[in-house]
Amino acid sequence: MYAYDEIDRTLVNERVSEFRDQVKRRLSGELTEDEFKILRLQNGVYLQLHAYMFRVAIPYGTLASNQLRALAHVARKYDRGYGHFTTRQNIQFNWIKLAELPDALADLAEVGIHAMQTSGNNMRNVTSDQWAGVAPGEIEDPRIWSELIRQHTTLHPEFSFLPRKFKIAITASDHDRAAIKIHDIGLKLIKNEKGETGFEVLVGGGLGRTPFIGKTIKHFVHGRDILSYIEAILRVYNQYGRRDNIYKARIKILVHELGIEKFSREVEDEWQHIRNSSLQIDDEVIEDIRSRFTYPNYEKLPHMPDELRQAAADADFEAWRKNSVSPHKVQGYSIVTISLKPIGAPPGDATAEQMDALADLADKYSFGEIRVGHEQNLVLPHVAKRDLPALWKALDKLGLATPNVNLITDIIACPGLDYCSLANARSIPIAQELTRRFANHELANLIGRLHINISGCINACGHHHVGHIGILGVEKNGEEVYQITIGGRADEGAALGNLIGPGVKFDEVADVIEDVVEAYLALRERPEELFIDTVKRLGVEPFKERVYATR
């Protein structure tokens, strides 16, 4: 966990007071909606179909148990008893009243949580690997650098009115769990030949109406120079990024239009002006941030404790362990992913009761720490292997032990037309139906790793372009129609999916996905060949033939 200092606490509290005053002036009519809109957006407040939506930042996806309890409290006191974890490691509340928002923010501020820059045309929440600090083979904890960037960019005047929103993701592992290639800036922590820590820097990734995979702009930027390099990128973007057309305002469009070579030359020129300035980071700064991250006092534990050996006889426990438990960098400990994708439920949602209970379980079994992943699941990052059976029983009672992590029912879905004012079609009911179709765990295991991502509009909050199977809802002649792509992926081999054919109606989507999966099972060379690899080997055509032959 990262311990905020007095500067952070003062900043968050002052922000609450400021927003309370702004809300008061809005409700009295002193501020018009036009004047107020930018202020509420800077505090994570959107207007959706039914109500205001309140997006709360969870920096780099790390939560302490008391913070999760505070989120549960907000869900219970100010909302309808649940929250929705998002693909950018935030949480959203769907039914907040504007008049009560300052109180909700004040309650969250007591535990160091805020909603700054969770919307608006500024630097958004820096996201990272949900296994940061515990993943075997990691270069180092990427959250140290995430925190550095968070500090530098929070309320940074130069980056508060960018042409459009701006998202950074950081990973420190070869396997990219942070989807860095679909971010405005993606940072991969690496070591150079001298053993120095730095970053491979990617730029111009993003989804939405014009999707691009990020391109490497520099193969190595030393850690001490990362702020100046990011600042150089942002300055070029701020100067040349389009402000006349919202659909062409993201940095990915600028990178595409200039070309990566010209864009990188512009960045390089700018960087030379600011590289040796106060933006150069002293080792002490990094060490100070590092020192504010506390890590568990791990015990020396056996690799295979008796409790785990005995529990292996329980088939249900084993199914969960094999699916949801991953190796930890410390012997005797595990990383546990908690699926927020129970069969038939909205993906990524958790009730206040579940959040409270998870906070208790985190205290009991994970040194009080919880993580949020971009796949809309939660993680307990430090679970002793001996505690896994007890944890599983507790999770099962909460309805949170569905063993479907990374399987076909572990679906990413945006809120869609059930909540979102931008959506053209519903996402959640499609996800719910698909989880019912593939509820059989043996079938899901037979299919193997397969990511379905669903968006209810072209803005792609459900990351449909990079789903192994992507589903995009559009509206055609007053009806919901869904376009289906296959072959996308969001990891280190990031790729955009390809359309398999004409869109299908709401009621047909699950049938079509079943056909795609059946085609895969028939086409794969061996059981170990993942869906994504079969698509890569064969292309779209065999799937298209199968799906559309009878339609």
Binding site: R26, L27, S28, G29, T32, E33, L47, Q48, L49, H50, A51, Y52, R80, G81, Y82, W95, I96, K97, L98, A99, P342, G344, A345, P346, D349, A350, T351, A352, Q354, L417, D418, Y419, S421, L422, N424, R426, I428, P429, Q432, E475, G478, E480
Partner: protein, 105 residues
């Protein structure tokens, strides 16, 4: 679907209402003939041509404190006078999400 918030040209193909979200709590409201807002669609003022729609929208926009983001939405009016939402979006806004909310699952 054009974002209602960007609705610029006012053309209506049938009976319509002006809808928005109430400022203090965000709930869905409809403009009434009495120049106020109601959460009850049956109390909405019905407009049937572009001029009427334009006038009702202008009046609604002027009430910036009462509700935000007003726009014209289609409705269907039954033989008995009952007003129903004219499309899926408006139906969801009126009747709520089409899914079980987690606390109810």
């Amino acid at each position: 679907m054009t974002s209602p918030l960007e609705q610029k040209k006012i053309k209506i193909a049938g009976p319509s209402v002006v809808t928005a979200n109430r400022t203090w709590d965000g709930i869905v409201v409809y403009r009434t003939a009495a120049k106020s807002w109601s959460a009850d669609l049956s109390e909405a003022a019905i407009v049937r041509n572009s001029d009427e729609a334009k006038a009702l929208l202008a009046e609604s926009v002027a009430d910036d404190v009462g509700a935000i983001g007003p726009y014209i939405a289609p409705v269907q009016v039954g033989a008995d006078g009952k007003i129903e939402p004219g499309n899926l979006r408006e139906q969801i806004r009126q009747t709520g999400v089409t899914i079980g909310q987690p606390a109810q699952v």
